[in-house]
Every structure is written in C-alpha cells, then in structure tokens.
Amino acid sequence: MASVADFAQAQAPVYHQERPAKSGLVDWLTTVDHKKIGILYGSAGLFWLLIGGLEALLFRLQLAKPDQDLFIGNQYNGLVTMHATTMVFLAVMPMIAGFSNYFVPLMIGARDVAFPRLNAFSWYTFLFGSLVINASIVFAHFPAGGWTGYAPLSTRAYGNDGMDFWWAGLVLLAISSMVAGVNFVVTILNMRAPGMTLMRVPVLAWMMLVIQFLLAFSFPPVAVGLIFLAFDRTFGAVFYESAMGGDPHLWQHLFWLFGHPEVYVLILPSMGIVSEVLPVFARRPLFGQHAVIFSGVFIGFVGFGVWGHHMFTAGMGPIADAVFAATTAVIAIPTGVKIFNWLGTLWGGKLTFPVPMLFAISFIPMFTIGGLSGVMHANAPLDLQQHDSYFVVAHFHYVLVGGALQGLFSGIYFYFPKITGKMLSEGLGKAHFWLFLLGMNITFWPMHDLGNRGMPRRIFTYPADAGWNFDNMLGTVGVFFMAAGTLLMVYNIFTSMKNGKTAGRDPWDANTLEWMTESPPPAHNFDFTPVVFSERPLFDHKHSEDLAIPVPHEAEQIHMPSYSWKPLVVASGALLVILGLLLLNLAPMLWLISVAGALTVVVGIYQWVTEPV
C-alpha cells in the first residue's frame, strides 16, 4: 500500500513561465495564481464577516429592550441594510469564492483555472465593489433601503444618498460574479485530470459548478434592475415610478429572480463542504454520492422557478401565488434527500470528532430546522402571516448561519492545514464551536416565537407591552456568544499560522486529490498529472496495492501563466465608470471620470489581449 509520503519522492520541478513572478506586495497585486486569489477572497470574506457581525451587534443592542434610542430611524435601517448586504455579498460569497478558487483546481487535478487573468479581474471588481458600498459611510450615510432595495423607497424621490453607493457597489459585484461564474464553469467542465469523469468530481467541486451556473444566469436580471435603479437615481428615469407608468413590482421580480438562486449560491457550497468532511471523519464514502450531486443540480434548476414566494403578500394574484407555492414545496424533496444521505454516511462509520467534523455534524440539525421552517413559508396562506415577520428572520438565519456559515467554518478548520501547512488549535476550535452553536440558538430560536407574536422585521423599536421583551433580550445576549466564538477563530488563525503543528500533505487521512500534494501546494499544484480511477483517488492510492505513483513531469512540461497588471487596470477602469455615475449628482462635470474609466477599460482590454502569457 502506498502512503501520501510517496508522492514527495520527486525533486520539485521548476515550471516554465513567460515572465518570472514578482515578489512581495507587487506579487499579490499582479498574481494570477488561483491559490493566492483564493487567499485574498477568503481573507476579505473573513474581514467583512467581522464588520457585518459588528453591525448586527450594534442593532441588537438597540433591540435589547423596548423604547431605546441608540440607533433610530435611518441609522438603524442603515445598520440592518449593511448587515445583510455585507453578510451576503461581502462575507459569505467571497468566502465561498475563496474555497472555490483555492480548491476547485486542486480537487479536479488542474494547474489553475481556465482563465487566470479573468480570475484576477473578478477579485478586483469584487474588492472595488465592497469598498464602494462601504464608502457610503464616509461620503454620506449608510444605504437604508434594506438589502432588498425595494423601489420606490430606494429611488431618488426618497433621498437616501447611501443607496447610490449601494447600487454602484452591487453592479461591480455583479460583474465580478458573472465573470467568475463563466470562468469556473469552463474550468470544471474542461480541466479535470485524466480519468475524472463528471461523476467522479468531488461533491464540493460539483456544488461549486452548480453555483457558478446560478451566478452566471441569476446576476443578469438583478444587474438590469440595478442599472434601472441607477438611471432612476442619476438621470431621473422612472422604471419603478407608478405615477409615470413604471412599476415597483418590476424591481421585486428582477431582484428575486436573482435573489432566490442566490440563496442556493450561499448554501450549496456548504452542503458540498459537509459532503467532503463527513466521509473523511466517518471513514467511509459519502452515502449515495450520485443522489447528493443530482439533488444539488435539481435544487439549482428549480431554484430559478420559485422567486415569487418572496412576493406572496405583494398582490400577484392567487394563480401566481399557487404556482410559486407549489414549486417552492418541491425544493423540500432534494433537500431532504441530502439530509438523509448525510445521516446514511454517519450510519455504520467509525466517527471521530475534530473541529471540522463538529461543525459538519451540527450543520445537519441546524440546517434541518431552517429547511423545515422554509416548508412553512412555502405555504402561501401561512406565509401571509409570517412574511416580513421575525419568523422569517429566524428561518433564514438558521439556513445561513446554522447552515451556510457553519459549513464554511467546517471548511476553514478542514482546509486551513492545506492552505498554510499548519494545523489550527483544536482546543480553541472546540471553544469556538460550542460558543457559536449556543449563541446562534439563543439568538435565533426565540425569533420564531417573536414572529408568532406578531413582531415585524426591520423595526428599530417596539412598545413594552407587545410581549416581545424576553425574546428580544435573548436575541441580544446570544450575539455576544457568537462574536466571542468568531473572534476566537480569528485569534486561532493568526497564532496557528505561526505556531501551529505542521500539517503535512494529508493530516486528516482524506480521500481527494488536493491532499495528495504538499501543504501549501506549490505554484503548479502537482508535480505530476494525477490519474483518477474513482471518486476517491487518494483513498485508492492509499488502499490498493497496484496503483503506481505517477511520474513527475520534467520542468519544461509545466507551463504556468505569468503575472499581469492588466486585470487591475481593467477593473480600475470599470470602477471609474461607476464612480463617475455615482458622483454625477455632486457636480455635473464628473461624468468625465466615467469617460476616463471607459477609455481605461478599452485600452486595458487591448493590452490584455495582446499580452504574452
């Protein structure tokens, strides 16, 4: 039987590059290495996770007791809007992008993504988008129209300068996500190692494939909606102005046609991570791997036909309500299939419980709770009561915190050794896990009750005699547990990076290709081309007698893409185009900034195309 150490026999080859990589800061600015871009995405995601959490902590202080005035009116609305916008677009999505960037090429045995410079361009448009949204705090005030940006509250007629920064930032994020979606679809479909048929692609990479399709197809509608909003705010267009023949429902349809697939963008990768982690620590294959994959694909498809369930109270009429209620109920079936297969994976295994496994097993009941309350919302007659109440707030936090975020935490503890070569501290990790699990249940469970007691969401204060005092106090207490847990994780990351135990190639005795190479992997990922015979290539190598260790390549056989400034140049051009439109309201001549940006984009793309790689 082979061991992973056998893969280390070769002298690491020098790979071929058109221009040798830079070092230091310039390297990080010009890199096209999917692993470095993954680290950038992941770090940004963690940073915004802390900011988004801080925003939540502030407004939970306001809600701790009735009739308080810490943050009132649009201050409070701004915190709520930015908490959601930050968590969805600037924390969870980039953390997903981080895992997708770092691990998809490794998992499928590729050297990099299909379009490495396009990947760097996605990162920069994301970075600029995140900065633009938050720049609102410096120049004006937070956008206060809710993360759903419902028109006409979000339009110029109702002021709210922060919404300018909101649409501007989101347009950049939309560009980033659409570009990344195309890039990763091409990567996963075309760059798999020999023998890796689609059904042998690891489940995490599969879920990433599904969400890249969702990103590529769901962002265009909201991008259109955002540009309509931009035209309204900048040029006085009236797409959403009913008195002028526009329609506020237009925004809701465009937004939720994106917004619901977006929910699956947030949760499917965590389901993928759980599907990777459970088999490793149960010591047996994922139960019903094909069923898990196909249910993910099914969710992706049906996810485009359910957006109307966000609009049951909007007045679409009973026919539309009935159709959307029925399609939404269908989503419960593939979701249930996944949960049962995870239980099937645990059943009959030999379970160990390091930190990644703790988060993965607690994902199952926490996500199930969120899924089951979702079944309630799918019921349109019941949703007329629950819509826009705290019951919904409880529901999507069980899905996105108990589900998506716990899955990502599991992924962080699981993959940190591969990224840094060091293990995270188990003790701190366990403290993080218990604090976080306790905190999220203390905060979000009582919100079900608040919804039942008729408390609407997004209200900055409430009367003392409405029966909401006890639950709200709990909601605030729990946040401190979650914050403490998350800070422990950040501390763990910083200290373990320096002082953590050395991980080696395969610290968890895992099954898939990324654990075959060094930790951290070399720039070219693998010294050899991995050959795949099942969905567990590394397991095969470790447990069968007759699989030969692949022969390393000669140096000149490995071509790696060169560094490039062009993604930064083109993304900066896009930023200037947006900034010009954004600032137009301050002084008319500022449209010249947009022209300069457009020229930068054109020149940058020309240089990009002609640059040797």
Binding site: G73, P152, L153, S242, H249, A326, L343, K350, L384, H543
Partner: protein
C-alpha cells in the same frame, strides 16, 4: 435532545409573557386558515425533526470510533432501495400538504358576493400613517386615520394602496398582511369574528419611521354595546352603526376657552394638511397624496401619531411641538408651534371627540 420538546413547546406559544398580537389567536376567517396551516406544519415539522435528530444522535453515539480500532468500516457507497424510499416519502408528504394549501390560497383570495352587504374601505399607506376611506354602506364618505373600525360578522373588503413607498398593513390577530403598493389597488377580503381592539403595524420597510407606523383595528359588535378586554383593561365598544353616526357628524365649534386653540391651529398653517369637517377655515385643504390625517374626531381616537402615543393633551402637545423627536423623518415640520402654543392647540384638538 431533552431540550427539544421544551423548545417546541415554546414555539407553540407557551411563554409566560402575554402575546397581545398572537398570530395564532385569529379573529377572522383568513386568520383561521393561516393558523390551521401553522398547526398542521408545526406537528409535521416537529415529527420530521424528531426523526432526523434521533437518527443523528443515535449514529453519533453508536458509531463513534473506538480507541485503538484502526480498521476501516464497511465501505458502502449507498443503497438504491433506501434512496428511492427517502425520495418517495417526502414527495408524498409534499403532495399531501400542497393540495390543501392550494385550496387555502384560493380561499384567502376570495371575493365577496357583491349582492351581500359588504363594508369596503380604501386603505392608503403614507409615510408613516394609515388613511381609511369608507366606500360603502352607512359609512360611505367617512375618512379616518390609523384606527380602522369594522363591524363584526360582516364581509369586509379592504383595497390596499399607497401614496408613496410600499407599506404592508398587518394586524396579526386579524390574519395575513397585504402590501400597499403605489399605483396598485389590491383587495383583501375577510370577515372579522370577535369584537375587540387589535394592534398592528406596517410590515414592509418604508423609511425612517417604519417602526412607528402603527395601526389599530377596532371590531365593533353589530348591535348592542359589548365590553372587551384590551391590555388588561375593560373597554366598552358601542355598536358599529353608533360609531359611524358619531363619526359622520361634523365638528362642533369649540367652547370659548378652546377658541384660542382653533385660532392658533389656523394661524400656524395646520389646515393646509389637516381637515376638520365643519369648522370654517379648517376645510381649505384639498385632500391629496400629501395631506395628513383628518382631525374631525381626533379626540375620539385611542392613540395618536399612528398608534405611537396614547391620546391625551400632553402627548398631542409633545407630538406637534417637535414631531421629529417622536418620529424620525416625520413629514410634519418641526418648529411650527412653540411648546406653549402646542398646549393650547392640544387642548382644542382633544375636545374633538
């Protein structure tokens, strides 16, 4: 595990704090439909969750790796029979709950028989208060604000619309909410059953004072006066027709000591937004999208500032002397009246019963 039944009991509403806006103590036919589905799905969800958690917990304990055991467990890749079973059973459950749900959707969108007596009211959401315009029956032509009065056991259709952004009128004990969209007019039909006073508020984020856009639903008995319990106090509710008759009366000229209040009310430009039916010089404002509540019977309301403050002269004075301190972003400007004048005006307004 032991905590699970406890948590579910809490969800079912067993906390000791009173819940005056309990969505599951419905007082209308629509509310009963919502509540029926809640109970149905709560039991179903609880059963599914209990099964999942039981299997999960059993597996975690039973299949924990024993120290020193380094052999691999059986490497099963799945089981087709199980996959079929756990796809088929949820499918059947989904079908079983979807069919009655579709019936419920159409029940809640029913239209009342136009030949039956129906109370029709236009409900207009405005930043940050509610305007009610009665369209049919004895109350036709009546305009009031924030407190919607309806007869019990009578078919009601509310027509939801908005003068500015999207709002949603929600009285949890009545039943579901419907959005009030600008440029649209969506009906919500129901029959309220139990006379009483029920609080509610806007449920769709509508700007800086969204949290302070409250409303009250007062369901009057059809005939004789009844006594109802409101927040632990006994309140007498007259019959709907008695209420309508009183509200249709124009305001009476104020007695001598309150005349100064009326004078200040006119001087400080209040009538440019607020109508008082029957008092000369206060009915100049054309009703428009921007006008404020009709004050003809403001003294008879239980609360002011959209169910935010208890209705008494002190609170009216506080509200009109600095509206933005009560409601951030209020459309009623600050600084129109001095605190001293505010007291005088408040005394006059309170007299408009």
């Amino acid at each position: 595990m032991a905590a699970l039944p406890l948590l579910l009991a809490w969800l079912a509403g067993c906390s000791s704090e009173p819940a005056p806006r309990d969505t599951h103590a419905p007082v209308s036919d629509n509310g009963e439909i919502s509540s029926f589905f809640y109970s149905l799905l709560l039991y179903l969800d609880a059963a599914i969750l209990a099964i999942v958690v039981a299997v999960w917990a059993y597996a975690l304990v039973k299949f924990k790796k024993q120290a020193g055991d380094d052999t691999l467990p059986e490497q099963s890749h799945g089981n087709m029979k199980l996959e079929v079973i756990w796809t088929a059973i949820p499918t059947l459950i989904v079908v079983a709950i979807t069919v009655p749900m579709l019936v419920g959707v159409f029940q809640m969108s029913k239209r009342h028989d136009p030949n039956q007596p129906v109370v029709e009211v236009d409900v207009t959401g405005k930043q940050w208060w509610w305007e009610f315009d009665y369209k049919s029956g004895s109350a036709a032509g009546l305009h009031t604000a924030n407190e919607l009065h309806l007869p019990a056991d009578t078919a009601v259709t509310l027509h939801m619309t908005s003068a500015d952004v999207i709002h949603a009128w929600w009285v949890p004990r009545l039943g579901g909410k419907r959005d009030a969209n600008p440029g649209r007019n969506y009906p919500m039909s129901f029959t309220a059953k139990a006379p009483g006073i029920y609080d509610g508020q806007c449920a769709e984020l509508c700007g800086s004072s969204h949290a302070l856009m409250g409303t009250k639903l007062v369901v009057h008995p059809l005939a004789a006066e009844v006594e109802v319990d409101y927040k632990g106090q006994k309140v007498k509710l007259e019959s709907y027709e008695t209420w309508v008759k009183a509200q249709l009366q124009p305001a009476k000229p104020p007695v001598a000591e309150l005349e100064k209040g009326l004078k200040l009310f006119k001087e400080r430009t209040c009538p440019s937004c607020h109508l008082i039916n029957g008092l000369e010089g206060t009915d100049i404002a054309a009703r428009s999208a921007t006008s404020g509540p009709n004050l003809t019977h403001v003294g008879s309301r239980m609360a002011i500032a959209a169910n935010t403050l208890v209705n008494n002269p002190e609170n009216i004075a506080k509200w009109i002397s600095k509206p933005s301190a009560v409601k951030p972003g209020s459309k009623m400007p600050d600084g129109l009246v001095t605190p001293e004048d505010a007291k005088t005006i408040a005394a006059f307004l309170s007299s408009l019963k």
